[in-house]
Symmetry: D2
Subunit: 137 residues, 4 copies
């Protein structure tokens, strides 16, 4: 199963070369995963972090910047779950514009207790992540 | 005439108090005006800056932060033109969430030549800005 | 009394025109005032916000962007207190590079209780802000 | 040889959990490498990008976030060159605060011609990068 989310490349994202500056790509990857939790897992970050005082920090990233994206490009982010662990999940994101892969990244997130320790996923979230993985596109 | 554009408050926008950090509000105001130029004036920033080497820098800002906006809020930005000058334009933006005004700002932008000097608006852009001002909501 | 703090214009701050993007200027103004509270008032934001659960949100801004600053410029930020109120303070910041004023801004901050309401300055902070105002340069 | 550069964790870097938000770490890694090019290689980004129209985009990143860093922490970034290729260089950065490793990352940058293609390092830059690698600490 692949979930898609578009992000337009705006002035804010671009560096003096007129292309997306890589820290802005990570603002985008965070936004894509945040919206995935809100829209697909139905468990928004506001609930996780502000109401329930848990966290889903990113603990590992591998990223490849394949081709520059420019001001005015519309990036399509395609999200897949690559691995679901006891207290972690690995997302693969691929960002395409004008049919060319611009960047891809694997981001591993951990479920963290209010005390700041890795903890097993709550059943609700775990079952929804698992269901997403098993859905046919 | 008022033009509206929504922006969801995401993790990226929020500070350790869980509310929108004011520099992120200015990323939002820039995005709102950028999208206004693309969607309403039909003259996107990519054309202005990358193709034609002009600019529309912001030269003056007055902003009031009336009430905090929180992670998960959906801000509605309402844009009006307050003044259209020979080589400048003043936009008023008001951002509301849950029926409460969160911030409002007046931003004055100038039309800049490739040499970096204030220059009169091109007729196309000027007439579209004027038409927007005169439209009944 | 004027307090100075330098900030180098780095890649991160610059837009596709190679000049400082205005939301980045507000990251700078926040940093300057944050360092003023840490170094001059001896009351760092970590203590105010994380330990004591108060806040010093910015409630009003007036800013003028006088001349562009470019990648590699060294901005000198000159900070003055313009007004000290019961629960607010107005800072004036002027950023100069290569002897030319690039931007100046007046930012009004309020002292906020853990409940999120404006509250009178604690005596310690108020007396140090007042002492700074009365110091001869 | 290891080169060190400190970065204070400021309000701007922190998320609603009061810890450094990972996209801000990449603003920091970019700043560290940018300052390394300016101070050690004596070839600042302003010269590379604005004057000579080349680029040093980041093409690959691996990053591990080992422990959270908090508002008020002083991160020490330790930079090493791990590999120097014909048109690329891999930097390893380790960020430590209060004697605990907070994050480390390997970033591979490529030398890019004005036409946007990978090109061999200019001799000046290549020899300085090589000299840095061979220096005893």
């Amino acid at each position: 199963m692949i979930w898609h989310r578009p992000i337009a490349v705006e002035f804010n994202h671009c560096d003096p070369a007129g292309i997306v500056f890589y820290p802005r790509y990570f603002e985008m990857t965070n936004s894509v995963i945040e919206n995935f939790f809100a829209d697909v897992i139905d468990y928004p970050y506001a609930r996780i972090t502000m109401e329930e005082r848990h966290g889903v920090p990113t603990v590992h990233i591998e990223a490849d910047f394949r081709a520059p994206a420019r001001l005015g490009d519309r990036l399509d982010f395609a999200l897949e779950i690559r691995r679901l662990g006891r207290s972690s999940v690995a997302f693969h994101l691929a960002a395409t514009a004008r049919d060319i892969l611009r960047m891809e990244a694997t981001l591993t997130l951990a479920w963290i207790s209010p005390a700041g320790r890795a903890a097993p996923w709550p059943d609700t979230i775990r079952s929804r992540l698992a269901a997403f993985m098993e859905t046919d596109a």
